[in-house]
Amino acid sequence: MPLPPTIPFIGITWADALFLLLGGVVLGSATLVVLGRDIIRNGLMLILTLGALAGIYVVLGASIVAGAQVLVYIGAISVLILFAIMLTQSKSASAQLNFQTQALPAALASALIGILLAVALGATQWGSTVYNDTPDPAGTATAAAVLFGPWLLAFEVASVLILAAVIGGIYLAMKPAESEEIEA
């Protein structure tokens, strides 16, 4: 006998259950990123958040986005964040946050915004929207055809944007040359 389409006793489909599970992981770990005291653990929780988000992409059928998410956000960006923390922090230093004076207002504001968003998004009928230019996420070929078709300009200009950011980043991080040391 095949598996039933919905989970017994709960009555939601397996995909929905997976989505809820991953969404719970995203929310929980994201909360821990904000609330945690140990900055490295916060970074690791961030990785968990991004990973669960990639899982949600897979559940929704966008596996290319999920792969890129893991490759870029976990494999590169999060690792670089951890790298920077490890280079600059000392584990023997105090784990207390030094400038944390607005935790309560921030918590209230984010809770308010969260409730507002949840109510507003929950009250909206999304089913009535017709999506015109959303590609079929089935395979690499369709994604590539969309990326290099209607979205070619955005795709290419994104690389220009990154180039500009890299140039600026290198400039800011570069050690000054000898001739530049004549600071007044």
């Binding site: 998004l121 909206t124 009928q125 017709v130 209607p150 955005a154 180039l163 500009a164 530049e180």
Partner: protein
Amino acid sequence: MSGEMMTIAPLLTVIFGAVAVLIADMVVPARRYTPIAVALAALGAAAVFITAQGGGVTIALAGAYVTGPFVSYLGLLGITVTTITLLMTPDHVGDRGYPTAEFASILLFALAGAILVAASTDLVTLFIGLELLVIPGYLLAGYAKRDPLSTEGAVKYFLLGSFSSAILLFGIVLLWGSSGTASLSGIAAALASGSATPALAVALALITTGASFKIAAVPFHYWTPDAYQGSPTPITGYLSVGPKVGAFALAIKLFLVALAPLALLWVPVVAVLAAATMTLGNLVALTQLNVKRMLAYSSIAHTGYLMVGLVAAGLGEVAGISGILFYGAAYAFMNLGAFAVLTAIQGRPGSTTQLSDLAGLGRRHPLLAILAAVFLLSLTGIPPTAGFFAKAYVILAAVQAGGAAALLAIVAVLNAAVAACYYLRVIIYLFMREPAEPPVEVATPPLLRIGLILAAIGTIALGLAPTLLIEAVARAIAP
């Protein structure tokens, strides 16, 4: 050259120019003027391409990039702003031991972003163009990287700018989700036929917030004073003009094209923000003793005037858009000119821009002082200058729109009177105070002089013969 290549040629020229600047610096390293010359050549080529397009509507890349009079106008304005900035800056940063190549390259990238914002037809390209416009701004704000003030300003600008980008992006995503398309005109069509949902209201709120950050409207202006004060003076001049005009191009695209069907929802909010921005910017500017910081608050106030035009346009008054466009050009000339004067009096590295530093400039350097007076009078809005007509058009548009917009026009006029106080106070210092001892060292290298003269010509010419630009503006907004 094929038609499509011709259409995107200005954008490509600017981007390749930015790369060519760095290559030139690699071939002949550490020259102060070589990168500037290459960048100016690229700007000239881009201007030629835009002129050659003749303002006709052309479409490239499957409709992702559409040029027309609007794009040509903003492109030429951006090229002008970039040119004057390129002329003002090299000696200032060069004397302080910073290279000019990276500056010129980053500036050209920002210009490419501005052109892209103007020419984009969908939310994705629009957002990427906006980021290409503002991310170079963060880097330029921190360009004096050994100066803690510059770094502090850059960090504040970067953090708040990133947050605002995220907020804007969230709004854009909800807008896309509500309308089902990323095309600006498609969104307008979908919104016109559909009903307003709660998600759409949230999207509107987020987009308004994000855009307000970008144009530095009260209460989202906190980054402005620090970022403007910390940056090297000529770069502050650019930051107060380039990203602002670009962000208003974004606002026109988002609010007046995509969100036009929802005008009744956002116009009141923008009107309140405009009034608050004008008033707070001017009142705080009154108390500033540092001229750079004062001009920072004054630029916030000018944001408010520009938003008056947005409100008028939102109420269906086409003159509002032309007011914004004209104001953008006038503001570019007069504000860049004012900062060019400040650059000149900071001849020696490490010199400040306190109000007292300007005392008695009229006696020692009469020509510079007169130019400063012209720019300040124009910023105030005194008749024979560009600033007068700019304010006049915007306020007139608001009056024509009628209703609450007329009330906003009254607020704008009152604010102009308040603004006169602090602008005129600087002029008093310039001409009626004893020079400071020891006197400030003024340096006007040739490039800076050219920049000053260009800004002055623009300010005066637009004041004497505003019709020159009015026609171009009228073409730009013609449907």
